[in-house]
């Protein structure tokens, strides 16, 4: 039995090493430079898709395929996330048992601030995402937290995203080594292959955006979170950023981590930061 395992590992190892040597890039010195990373990241997509307008990247697959863009624009006349939006607005206005509302937890009453999330909390030394902040607000006011992958959370983030529509993503990295580490950790997660399919987020969203995986056209990684939360026809329901990360993992046959684990918060931090300057377009409708 032992020999069979080694054979299997040997072949996998050989394939991986061969791939690593074949790739042209030289591994440069490892100083974390988010500004340079963001510039390189954006230029990669601007050069790879010269005729896609920069702000269009936030429309995911629809920036890659005219026929699907038409189907999408038709649906946008009366979008399927309309109900989640109304529910979110109502929830935002409904006070907790202690009389407070979400508006008391957020700057500017929670209106028009989604473009600053996630942010790095220097006291806690960790990335705080919008979904996490909402649940913390609930718990601070004696309410039970919502599931990160279910409709209530999606309705709240849909409404907050809607109030920020058109504002440019504006994520800050404070001069704090832990913030740089979180950014780097998110970047590593983004490029790390996982699951039996041996895909990383980049395998699909950097190497082959615009191409199809069966019926779906792959979205470019640039601005991929700007439309969150999204109503997906495939789920015939709303999906938060957490739900998207968890389902992407299981698609590659990797066991998902707990929603809002550090890795997910950091990769959201990385992806949002490199999309700075692109407009918020949430809530979105996707295939």
């Amino acid at each position: 039995m032992k020999t069979r395992v080694h054979l299997l590992l040997g072949s996998l190892g050989a394939a991986l090493i061969a791939f690593a040597l074949a790739s042209p890039r030289v591994i440069a010195a490892d100083k974390v430079d988010p500004v340079a990373d963001a510039k390189a990241f954006q230029n990669f997509f601007f050069q790879k898709f010269p005729n896609v307008k920069h702000e269009d990247f936030v429309n995911g697959p629809y920036s890659m395929n005219e026929d699907m863009k038409r189907q999408w624009q038709e649906k946008e006349e009366f979008p399927p996330y309309e109900f989640a939006l109304d529910a979110g607005k109502e929830m935002f206005a409904t006070p907790f048992k202690n009389g407070k509302t979400y508006a008391d937890c957020f700057p500017n009453g929670g209106i028009g601030i989604r473009q600053n999330y996630p942010y790095f909390d220097t006291k806690e030394g960790k990335v705080i995402t919008l979904e996490l902040a909402l649940n913390r607000c609930r718990e601070a006011n004696g309410e039970a937290p919502y599931s990160y992958v279910k409709d209530e959370m999606a309705s709240l983030t849909a409404y907050m995203a809607y109030t920020s529509r058109g504002k440019l993503m504006d994520i800050k990295i404070p001069d704090d080594p832990r913030a740089l580490a979180a950014f780097e950790n998110g970047k590593r997660y983004f490029y790390t292959r996982r699951g039996q399919m041996n895909f990383s987020c980049a395998s699909c969203h950097v190497q082959s955006p615009g191409e199809r995986i069966r019926a779906e056209t792959l979205a470019p990684a640039l601005g991929i979170l700007n439309a969150m939360p999204i109503y997906r026809s495939e789920w015939s329901g709303m999906g938060t950023t957490s739900r998207r990360f968890v389902t992407c993992n299981s698609q590659t046959r990797a066991v998902p981590l707990e929603p809002q684990s550090d890795e997910y918060r950091d990769v959201e931090y990385f992806l949002s930061y490199v999309a700075n300057g692109l407009p918020i377009s949430g809530p979105g409708a996707r295939p």
């Binding site: 069966r214 019926a215 495939e234 590659t252």
Partner: protein, 163 residues
């Protein structure tokens, strides 16, 4: 629904009062069915929605066959973004339109939706339908008692890479 004694004696004869004469035994001769009567009939076409095949559903709903016409403009995607939500619309330049219906051939039940178009309503409809798999989509317009159709193929597959 126009009344005619087709081969199926069981088909319910819908008596529309003294004015209409049940033309027995004259088969499918097209005759001017008063548009108001088709619109007034609000009954839900149970029978037609039960038919599996497209041809049977058309017969159950309208009692006769349609002829393709370029006056019926059917707009549907070539590749459906998702089989669960396929935006489909139809417009027509025909006049005296009384009904518009959609048939998805490869669905378990072909008839998807049927709309009654009273006088004064523009003969055009947009809606979102489900499609089980790659299929022929047929839109039928009933205008001045006759049936006109347009059809198109829509490709449908699942999404995602694995799971």
């Amino acid at each position: 629904m126009t009344t005619t004694t087709g081969p199926h004696p069981t088909r319910r004869l819908i008596l529309q009062g003294a004015a209409s004469v049940a033309l027995l035994g004259l088969g499918n001769l097209p005759f001017a069915a008063a548009p108001a009567r088709a619109a007034a009939n609000d009954k839900y076409p149970e029978e037609a929605f039960k038919q599996k095949r497209e041809a049977d559903a058309i017969k159950a709903l309208y009692g006769r066959t349609a002829e393709p016409s370029d006056k019926v403009k059917l707009d549907a995607p070539e590749i459906a973004e998702n089989g669960g939500v396929v935006p489909i619309s139809v417009t027509t330049t025909l006049d005296k339109v009384t009904s518009i219906s959609f048939f998805v051939a490869e669905n378990p039940f072909a008839l998807a939706a049927s709309y009654k178009i009273p006088d004064g309503t523009i003969p055009a409809v947009a809606n979102r339908l489900k499609m089980a798999r790659t299929t022929k989509l047929v839109a039928i317009v009933e205008a001045d008692g006759k049936l006109y159709s347009a059809s198109k193929e829509v490709k449908v597959t699942v999404g995602g890479c694995g799971g």
